[in-house]
Assembly symmetry: C2
Homo-oligomer: 111 residues x 2
């Protein structure tokens, strides 16, 4: 719609939503999986593993990088990406904080 109300929520809510948004596409989940499995950093190999064009993969990588979930360094003519575990852990714990604590109390909800 013309107007954006996202700013009207708390920073934590926005951060968590942005984190979720970065993971809200199977291609990006897949990329994260590949990066996690191979300890070493990869780049164009991802393109071969995914059913997407090179430019599209590059775009997904950019989004993951912007969201802070991965880091990317230029290494000669190729780029090297790695999972940013620190950011990942931070968001994961925030996620758990939000819901795991409450879960214990409310296990038996009404509906």
């Amino acid at each position: 719609m013309a107007v954006h109300k996202k700013e009207e929520f708390t920073q934590k809510e926005q951060d968590l939503a942005n984190f979720a948004k970065a993971m809200a596409h199977p291609a990006r989940i897949s990329i994260l999986k590949v990066l996690a499995q191979r300890n070493a950093c990869i780049c164009g190999e991802i393109v071969e593993l995914l059913p997407l064009a090179q430019s599209t993969v590059s775009q997904h990588l950019k989004e993951l990088k912007n969201a802070g979930l991965i880091t990317g360094t230029i290494d000669g003519p190729r780029s090297c990406y790695c999972i940013n575990w620190k950011a990942f852990q931070k968001f994961n714990s925030e996620f758990n904080f939000l819901f795991d604590n409450l879960k214990i109390k409310n296990e038996k909800a009404c509906c």
Copy 2:
């Protein structure tokens, strides 16, 4: 683009992405928080707590329901929503499975 490639990824990847997508908006994070905090189910109270129109909140609730994160039952003229902890736990553990295991091995990445 006209084409959708999401189907070309594994079911688990798609499920996880859909789960993330449902959380990928601060309004929906906020709704989940409200539902979690109050053990009882709520409905129109959410509208008063959020800076959004009733129809918009209803739409967000529908998305959360479609994603299976909440349940909704009709209770007279009003609707009652609750967090679906079971689905929530399932996704959360799948999420942790995907990344927590790998995290231990790869703590010291290359970049």
